[in-house]
Amino acid sequence: MLIFSVFKTLTDQVVTVELKNDLCITGTLKSVDQFLNIRLDKISVVDPERHPHMMAVKNCFIRGSVVRYVQIPATAVDTQLLEDATRREHASTHKR
């Protein structure tokens, strides 16, 4: 749930999603759901020569399970906040 919340705060930011098949898509993050499925707008493919078929596509839906990385603008996240939230979630899910 924590990571889902983080992605919600990143809507309208420009991100680069790297898929497990090495395809890299840059675009504006329009929405995300609990499975970390992602909708991107105004997309461009980082290496269009390797993936020419993607040139015509303007927006896309990416199934969460095929994502390897998402590159995020560093300015868009408060790392201290992330660490505190992670410790809180750890404390609640790992009861003691």
Partner: protein, 93 residues
Amino acid sequence: MADLSAQVQEPFDLVRLSLSERVFVKLKGERSLVGVLHAYDGHMNMIMSDVEETILMVEPEEEANGVVQSVKRNLEMLFVRGDSVILVSPGSR
């Protein structure tokens, strides 16, 4: 580090103690990362900053002597999906 075993009652404790520290992450597909850990969840999804990724590639031409080449790149803030993770080690190595 001496009394670490006392603090680690379950595997995720090890990861929690690495928050805001540099960690080494081994991923599927002959990839590894070194970067600062800021967030993770029970799937081992992670958010890291100041990341150096290393990809090991076997040269396609001379397959006989299996030359291994590594490619590196830097990423300032990165979400890593947990299902690619094999191993996480505190302290970059």
